[in-house]
Each structure stands twice: as C-alpha cells, then as structure tokens.
C-alpha cells in the first residue's frame, strides 16, 4: 500500500478549464516527490488538495489507507512551508515553532524538548527570541520549515521554498532541506518550476502539464529518457521535431522534413524526435561511427565552459552545446550524433 495516494482528482472553478483533470499520484513512505511544471499547470492546486484547502469535485486522497478527501485541513496533520514562509509576524521564533504544539496541548517539557531539537537541527539556536522581521530570508525559511516539522507531520508540503532565496545559496539550502527530510523520513511533496531544483532534491520528479502528471520518474531517468515532447522540452531538449515517417529494416530511421535520422530502436508509434544539445557534437568534418547533419552556424552564445551554437540545417534550427569554442557565425559545420542519443517520443 502506498503512503499517500491521489486518485482521479478533478478540480474546476465554475465554467473555466479544469485545473486538475483526473490526476493520479502515489508516494511511498519516506519519499520526496517534486512536482515540476510551468505556472498554471496545477501543481500548487495539487498541493492545496493534499493540504485540504481545496476539496476536489471528484477523486479521493488517502493517507496510509485512510480516506481524507473530506477531512478538514486542520485535522490532517500536514506541515506546509509556504512560498512566502507565512511566519506569524507578531510571534517570536520560539512561539512560531511551538504554535502547532501548543494547539495540541503538548506538555511543557516535551514541547521545549521538541522545539529545541528542531531548532538545533536547522541551526536556529540563539534566534528563538527574535521576531520574523529581524531575520534574514534564509533564517525565515528555516523557521518556516521548523514550524512545519515541529508537529511531526504525516506529510510535508513545500511550495517553491527556494524562490525567495538568493541563487548563490540555493544549492546549500536545498541540500539542507534534503538532509533534514532524510533524517526525519517525512513524506514530502515539493512544488517547483525550476528543473534544476527538482532534479537536485527529489527521489522522483513528476512533470505536470495542464492538470495532469505527464511523467513521474527518478531524476536521472526523467532527464535522460523523457517520454513526451513536453517533458523533453522541460528537461532542456531544445531540438524537438515532429516525425513524418518511421522506417524499419537493418538501419531503422525516422524522417523529419525529408531528412532521415538514424535511431537505435524502432518505435512505430513515435510522434516526435528529440535531441539534447549537449549530446550533439559540432565538427568541421564527419566523424567515424557517428551520423551527421550538415549546417551553417547562425548564432552562438557563450556559456562559460561551453558554447551554445545555433545552426541552420535541413532539419530546421539545431542547438548544440559544445566545449569547442573555435567556431564562428557563418561557418559551415557538421552536427554529429550517435543513433542511441536520438530520442523517439510518443506524445
């Protein structure tokens, strides 16, 4: 039995397009699942359904087999870290952290114990008597996390927790969150629109599009083997083309704009073909064991250790991320690829 289950969740407001269209999600004990998607895809709505702030028109939510679809939010024992942190401005750090414990009438000694433990874990010692407005953004975020974890929640929900953190510190904070989550083994749903954020923290990443999960897989798998063109696009496959024709035989290939691209495995239902810019090579002449497409460099942008080239080819515009820096705009060049890196997608 899965720890958290969402089955066929529908949410719609009056006559508008439904926000969630029969969403399914299953999460194991101790797992951290990231919901990744563009704004308006329904990821925050999914979070609010789990929290109990939105009752879905159809479908149900179960936690450890208990159906909680109609359970009020305040009875669900779910910790939430809001994007705005939502700390209580009129309470000190200590009062913020112990708020949920005071509601539960936990005995004083036990309460202080728990609060101290969580404050230690998140490095909040010495800040207990400050007010939220006297803290830095990172500290506020840790207080928000401490407050949510103090109630020993069945599920932890995080809504874009890093969006207000300075990009320089994001990686560090992400590692901190991951560490605490592992230590407490709390089931966590982590909402983000940042691909790097999701891949960096999650056990599994669920990419959402228009009210449904398009694919849910471990980070390496979803990055290397996206199943749909939408997921591929989100994972940075900048070269995605519709397939005209699939050809079998000794050397299977797919045809795009009358150009045949060699593939490793044949998929008769393939609709799109995707090439990741970093899997392509740029070269002055064809390379042995690799396939090639001829093109002309139309633009380039410097990315530090690598250069992004834009080439005009028979396929259309191709983007190549390469460590070779010697090419200039206007040069003729070959884009080389291994058939195994040509990804055929069904949707």
């Amino acid at each position: 039995m899965k720890y958290l289950q969402l089955k066929g969740i529908w949410v719609y407001y009056s006559k508008q397009e439904p926000v969630l269209k029969g969403l399914d999600l299953e999460v194991d004990k101790g797992e951290l699942v990231a919901l990744l998607g563009p704004s308006g895809c329904g990821k925050t709505t999914t979070l609010r359904v789990i929290a109990g702030f939105i009752i879905p028109q159809r479908g149900n939510v179960t936690i450890e087999g208990r159906d909680v679809t109609k359970t009020s939010a305040h009875k669900r024992n779910i910790g939430i870290v809001f994007q705005s942190y939502a700390l209580f401005p009129h309470m000190t750090v200590r009062l913020n952290i112990t708020y949920g414990l005071r509601i539960r009438n936990i005995e004083r000694g036990e309460m202080e114990n728990r609060a101290n433990k969580i404050a230690d874990m998140l490095g909040l010692q010495g800040l207990e008597d400050r007010y939220p407005s006297q803290l830095s953004g990172g500290q506020q975020q840790r207080v928000a996390l401490a407050r949510a974890l103090a109630i020993q929640p069945d599920i932890l929900l995080m809504d874009e927790p890093l969006s207000n953190i300075d990009p320089k510190f994001r990686e560090k904070v992400r590692a901190e969150i991951k560490k605490v989550q592992r230590e407490l083994e709390v089931v966590t749903i982590y909402v983000t629109h940042d691909q790097e954020d999701a891949l960096g923290i999650a056990d599994r990443v669920a990419v959402m599009n228009k009210g449904l999960i398009e694919q849910i897989s471990p980070p390496t798998e979803i990055y290397e083997r996206p199943k749909t063109s939408f997921v591929a696009d989100f994972m940075g496959f900048e070269n995605i083309f519709p397939i005209q024709l699939v050809t079998g035989g000794e050397q299977p290939s797919v045809t795009v704009r009358n150009v045949a691209l060699r593939v490793e495995e044949l998929d008769r239902d393939g609709k799109y073909v995707a090439l990741h810019p970093s899997k392509l090579m740029i070269s002055t002449e064809p390379k042995p064991n690799l396939e090639e497409i001829k093109g002309k460099i139309t633009d380039k942008s410097f990315k530090g250790d690598r250069v992004k080239y834009f080439l005009e080819t028979a396929l259309g515009e191709l983007t190549v991320l390469s460590s070779a820096k010697q090419f200039s705009i206007g040069d003729d060049a070959y884009v080389c690829y291994a058939p195994g890196d040509v990804l055929v997608l069904r949707g």
Binding site: Y13, S14, A51, F53, S72, A73, H74, K75, R76, N77, I78, G79, I80, F82, Q83, S84, Y85, A86, L87, F88, P89, H90, Y99, G100, I103, R104, Y131, S133, R147, A148, I151
Partner: protein, 259 residues
C-alpha cells in the same frame, strides 16, 4: 540645494496650516466680532462655549453617533473585506469592491437627500435609526478601505499556515490575522469616527428634535451670533483631533515599532 527645498516646504505648510491656525488666534481675541488680526487676549470665548448648552449636547450627540456609526461600519467592513480577501477568484469581484466604495464618490448632499426621502417613505419618520444608517453609509467606505488594505497586505498564507498547524478557520483568524491587522482596525475606526463627526449634510438632513449634532449646533449659533465662540470651539476640536491621533499613534504605533 537645501534652502529652496526648505523654503518650498515651509510655504506649503503655512498655506495648509493657516486655516487651522487663524481660528486659534481669533479665539483669544478680545473683539466681540470675528476680526483678524486678533486684538488683546482673553479666555472668555472658551468659557462661553460651556454657557451654550447646545454645544455640550451636540458634542455628546456627535460623539455617540460617530462612535456607533464607526463601530457598525467596522463590524460590517470586516466580514465584507474578509470575503474579498479570501476569495481571489470570486466572480464580479471588481464590481463588488467598487460597490463598497461607491458612497465615497456620491456627493454627500445627494446621498443625504435620498436618505431623507427613504427615511420618510420606508420608516415614516426620521429617527435615531435613520441618522445612524446615514452615517454608517457615509463612513463605511473609509473603514472598508483601510481594513481591506491591511488584510491584503498581510496575505492569506498566514491563516492557512495556522490552519495547517491544527487551528480551525475561526480561531486561526483570531490567533494570527486579527493581531496583525490591529493597526488597520484602529486606523479605520478613527477615520470613520472623524468622517462621521464631520458629516454635516447627513446630520443636517437627518437630525431631529433634541439630537442636534455639534456641526449643526455650530451652524445654528453662527446664524444668530458672530463672535469668536465658534473659533474657540474650533480650536478645541482641533486639539481633540490631535489628541485622538496622538493617542492612537502611541498605542498602535508603538506596538508596530516593537516588531
């Protein structure tokens, strides 16, 4: 650079303050009529205020009306603002919002006349009730604005946070929303009180019998006599307003600085 800046500031301030300072000076004048510049010094006119019974009665009437009207206006504004603040996707939200602030745009005299008609038609007679209703209508947009603004500034997340931590909606609101809109509350109430206190035309149209609000009493007095008593009373009212604002600043303002 600095000197022209101060000069302009001083000029602007003096233009703004002259109408307030003039009656202050006149109120100490010995002259039997309102003259400027004032002559001599006397406290006679201040004493005179208390000889004229209508002023004390008017002050009590105005204060009670203003107090009741602000209380009702705030009590109505709170749930109305709350609904608008919680339901971001409410249909016709813009229309509802402007509906609540509409009385502010309506000329007060028109509103007063319509209320007078309404009071006669619907209630048969003008009474304390119609007077209060009129005042509530006039002051509510001000209360609504302040309270809605403080709720919007606060954002909805902190209430949801309290709910997720185990409080039901109502108590979450009491615990974490109310304490943080306290300033809006006091500010809104004070604004309502002042607006009601000064709502001359509503009072003029809807006052009755003994319940003569202070501004009406002052107008009546001016029609009979033209001495500095009114100036002295105005000076007292200015002091009253300043004291009230100061008290609010001390109680609510200080709290905000602690945070």
């Amino acid at each position: 650079m600095r000197i022209p800046f101060y000069a302009v500031s001083l000029l602007t301030l003096s233009i703004l303050l002259t109408p307030i300072i003039m009656p202050l000076l006149i109120s100490f004048s010995v002259s039997e009529t309102i003259t400027f510049p004032p002559q001599g010094f006397t406290l006679r006119w201040f004493g005179n205020i208390f000889n004229y019974e209508s002023f004390a009665k008017g002050f009590i009437a105005s204060s009670s009306i203003a107090f009741t009207a602000s209380f009702l206006a705030i009590a109505l504004s709170l749930p109305a603002s709350y609904v608008l603040y919680r339901h971001k996707t409410l249909r016709l939200k813009g229309l509802i919002e402007s509906l609540f602030t509409l009385p502010m745009l309506m000329p007060e005299i028109v509103l007063s006349y319509m209320l007078l008609l309404f009071a006669y038609r619907a209630m048969g007679v003008i009474s304390a009730l119609s007077l209060i209703i009129g005042h509530v209508l006039v002051v509510m947009p001000f209360g609504m604005r302040v309270i809605y603004a403080s709720l919007s500034n606060l954002g909805g997340d902190i209430e949801d946070a309290a709910v997720s931590l185990g409080r039901d909606r109502l108590r979450a609101f009491m615990d974490v929303v109310l304490p943080n809109i306290k300033q809006g509350f006091v500010g809104g109430s004070l604004t309502c009180f002042m607006v009601s206190f000064n709502a001359v035309s509503i009072s003029l149209f809807l006052s009755f019998g003994d319940s003569m609000p202070l501004p009406i009493a002052m107008l009546n007095y001016l029609q009979i006599r033209y001495d500095p008593t009114i100036a002295a009373l105005s000076a007292l009212l200015v002091a009253f307003t300043v004291a009230l604002s100061f008290a609010v600043e001390r109680t609510v303002g200080l709290v905000s600085q602690v945070r």
